[in-house]
């Protein structure tokens, strides 16, 4: 494997890590108005994600940094091309941080209800926006010969990309729901446990539609799967993992179900990446303008340095991420620390 491909794989891995980790806390936000009825319920939700959501969001920072370093041309074209959408992502990211941090500082029900609403809306907003962005990347964007993208915000809101966004909401809602069954107790847990199977059905139906739609819309992806049949292992395993998750949920075994849900997310990311490789940003104007891992990667000198940094850093990251999750295992107990 050459360095460019290695970094493509690492990049997809970081994004998958982001979607799995920040995904469940975004999912908690998306579910919050549907499952939390009292102030205590809302506090249970916030304290369930309290010690880890900040660290989870760092994976997005890492994803941005890795893209900038390894594929600067993609980073520049994508971020400037999606200018207003990116600004909206920043807006909702900040609002979400503020909502989580500020809610517990005052007792007033109106204050708390306001921030609860912001927590929900911003979690939903981030998921939708990033989903729609991914949809547009899969579908292709108007990249010209010099790698510039000129787009209006409304251009991003095409039916296919919106479908990706809605599917992402269902996927993370499900993921966050399974996470919560491990973290909360009482009536709240009962409501979530009843909701999770319905989310599973919604996710499965939406994802199936999306897969068919993608194969019809992106004939290049279909061709890639025909040429490299072995990569079909990713979608097949994703399906298997979804079925396993379904059975585990029905059996009430939520910890392994959470693992299966995380694995499903990783396999779905791999499915998309393998279907597009070596293209990172397809051009809807002319496929010769596509940005690929080969024509937009950093030079080998940089990628070598980055690989050394990753080899040193990533084991530590995984070690203390695992340590923190283990430390905060078990159900939430409310006290006057935390949210």
């Amino acid at each position: 494997m050459n360095l460019e491909t290695l970094w493509f794989v690492l990049y997809v891995g970081i994004i998958a890590g982001y979607v799995i980790l920040d995904g469940f806390d975004l999912g908690v936000g998306i579910l919050s108005p549907f499952v939390a009825r009292t102030d205590r319920d809302h506090r249970m939700l916030l304290n369930a994600i309290g010690p880890v959501w900040d660290g989870n969001e760092v994976w997005l920072v890492l994803g941005g940094g890795a893209l900038f370093a390894a594929f600067p041309v993609v980073y520049a074209s994508l971020f400037s091309g999606f200018y207003l959408a990116m600004m909206l992502v920043l807006l909702v990211l900040i609002l979400r941080t503020i909502a989580i941090e500020f809610r517990s500082h005052r007792e007033s029900p109106r204050w708390r209800a306001t921030w609860d609403w912001f927590f929900f809306a911003s979690s939903l907003g981030i998921t939708l926006l990033l989903g729609v962005a991914l949809g547009n990347v899969i579908r292709g964007i108007p990249l010209d010969s010099s790698g510039q993208v000129t787009l209006k915000l409304v251009d991003l809101l095409n039916p296919y990309s919106l479908a990706v966004g809605v599917t992402a909401v269902a996927m993370l809602g499900l993921h966050g729901g399974i996470f919560l069954t491990l973290k909360v107790d009482g009536e709240l847990r009962g409501r979530i446990e009843r909701l999770v199977p319905r989310l599973m059905v919604a996710f499965f139906v939406l994802m199936t539609v999306l897969v068919v739609w993608t194969l019809l819309l992106r004939t290049e992806v279909t061709a890639t799967y025909r040429d490299r049949v072995w990569i079909a292992a990713f979608p097949v395993l994703a399906l298997v993992s979804t079925v396993v998750a379904w059975r585990l949920i029905r059996a009430g075994r939520f910890l392994p179900a959470f693992g299966a849900s995380a694995l499903t997310i990783a396999l779905l990311m791999a499915t998309v990446a393998a279907g597009m490789y070596p293209v990172m940003l397809p051009s809807s104007i002319d496929s010769s303008y596509d940005l690929t891992v080969h024509n937009s990667a950093s030079a080998p000198e940089t990628l070598t340095v980055m690989t050394v940094i990753a080899v040193i850093g990533i084991p530590f990251v995984l070690l203390y991420t695992a340590g923190v999750y283990y430390f905060f295992r078990g159900r939430v107990v409310l006290d006057d620390h935390g949210y």
Partner: protein, 469 residues
């Protein structure tokens, strides 16, 4: 208004707002370590009480830093895409290293640190806090490396591999250790520590003035004031001076602009305060003869290059950077005076506790240190203009050509409104934490019951104390 200027205003505004928070985290973190060490060393519960009080404030500040910091990472791509294409090989890898080495460490241990009050004994809490502070310091290190490369770039080669000219890395060691990195790192870190000390000093002084938590306030002052004073003296005499010498060596036209030197010559005076007049190309004000020559070359006969030695196209806006630079310098001098006076009055029969006028100045010191760090950064960044990467890439060639003026105007308006609200709410919440004051000290049994080895911590189940909030 030109699109370039809008991009610059947006970046300048968002990064200035962001830069309110990291120095407070860095500096407050240092003091949290001091409190934590004292809690481990002595049996006095006040240290743990102080540590937990300031941890709450730290958490608030930290979350603001994270939220506004993410904006910065995105903006290189959204607003400065040509810059990103040009330097991605170099600048991007430093940001990615920051993410892996620094943010992950901070993000990982922050939860432990913030939950520490009910979950960790003194030693483990100190360990978690040290990791967070170490992470914050790594973060500062990498970002100053990246910024220093923009000031004094080296270790690169320019090639065109089909996407226009790009800077490629030829030596990672040279990229991270540019000549300006060392001086700029220490100057910035010491400034951040001073900001942290002044935050603690200002709250301590406020409590003393209001006669609340007086014992704790005196303890805070006894830690923060001497440290602040020593740092202030070192900043003026060593770290700040080093930084100025470095600029004189590597960016002489920047030095000329910030010192307001238009004409090359020897025995060049140093202006203490005053103003530059671009139309007549003169600088008036209180000047000390020959001092700049002496500082630059240790002799009055040293020639100092003026702006007239350089093409006018390469001049920074002298009338602005002259003011930001002198504001920083004069505030630095004022910090030595405030700290020195405070220490003297304390040493002289503890008179500090009753000198209300000085205590009020100390309450305001957090605003002054913030102003000093901000004006220092404005000097560094505006003084680098018209270059985004010193003598390599001009700012006018660096912004995103595909983003329209209306789009930047819209996002700038969004940030202005959003940050105004966020800052207002931040101040309200900070004030509430300060008004609420330190929590009751933990009893000895409570502290004893907390796990203080990793083995115990990982076996430990959440202690049940049902929610009362």
């Amino acid at each position: 208004m030109s699109t370039e200027l809008l991009h610059r205003i947006q970046f300048g505004f968002t990064i200035s707002f962001h830069f309110i928070f990291p120095p407070m985290s860095l500096g407050l973190g240092l003091l949290l370590i001091v409190f934590g060490v004292q809690a481990v060393r002595t049996d006095d519960p006040k240290w743990r009480q102080l540590a937990m009080f300031w941890t709450k404030i730290y958490g608030l500040i930290f979350s603001m830093g994270v939220a506004t910091g993410l904006v910065q990472e995105f903006q290189f791509g959204t607003n400065w895409s040509e810059y990103s294409r040009y330097v991605g090989n170099i600048f991007g890898s430093l940001l990615a290293a920051e993410g892996i080495f620094a943010f992950m460490l901070e993000g990982g241990f922050l939860g432990l640190m913030l939950a520490g009050g009910r979950r960790l004994g003194n030693k483990l809490w100190l360990f978690a806090t040290t990791m967070v502070v170490l992470g914050a310091t790594f973060s500062a290190t990498w970002i100053i490396m990246a910024n220093s490369w923009m000031q004094t770039p080296q270790g690169y080669e320019l090639r065109n591999e089909g996407r226009g000219t790009q800077a490629f890395m030829s030596s990672f060691r040279e990229v991270v250790f540019t000549p300006s990195f060392g001086p700029r790192f220490w100057h910035t870190i010491v400034a951040a520590w001073m900001v942290g000390c002044s935050l603690v000093m200002s709250v301590a002084a406020y409590y003393l003035l209001r006669r609340r938590h007086e014992d704790l306030a005196k303890t805070m002052m006894r830690v923060a004031l001497p440290l602040f004073t020593v740092l202030a003296v070192l900043q003026v005499t060593v770290f700040g001076a080093n930084q100025a010498t470095e600029v004189a060596t590597h960016q002489p036209e920047k030095l000329a602009a910030i010192e307001g030197v238009y004409q090359t010559g020897d025995c060049v005076p140093m202006t203490i305060f005053g103003r530059t007049d671009p139309s007549t190309q003169t600088t008036q004000g209180l000047q000390i003869p020959c001092l700049l020559s002496i500082l630059v070359g240790k002799s009055p006969s040293t020639t100092v290059q003026g702006l007239d030695d350089f093409p006018t196209d390469d001049w920074a806006n002298a009338s602005v950077v002259f003011q930001t630079y002198h504001l920083m310098i004069n505030l630095g001098m004022a910090f030595v005076a405030i700290g020195g006076l405070g220490c003297l009055l304390w040493a002289w029969k503890r008179r500090l506790w009753t000198q209300r006028w000085l205590l009020w100045i100390m309450v305001g010191s957090i605003g002054l240190t913030q102003l000093a760090t901000l004006s220092g950064w404005w000097t560094a960044e505006l003084g680098r203009q018209p270059w985004i990467v010193w003598q390599l890439l001009r700012t006018e060639d660096a912004f995103s050509p595909n983003v329209t003026t209306a789009q930047v105007a819209a996002s700038l308006a969004m940030f202005a409104v959003l940050y105004a609200i966020v800052f207002g709410v931040f101040l309200v919440l900070l004030n509430r934490l300060i008004q609420a004051g330190p929590p009751d000290p933990p009893t000895e049994e409570e502290v004893q019951a907390l796990p203080d080895t990793w083995g115990a911590a990982f076996q430990h189940r959440s202690r049940v104390s049902d929610g009362s909030r």
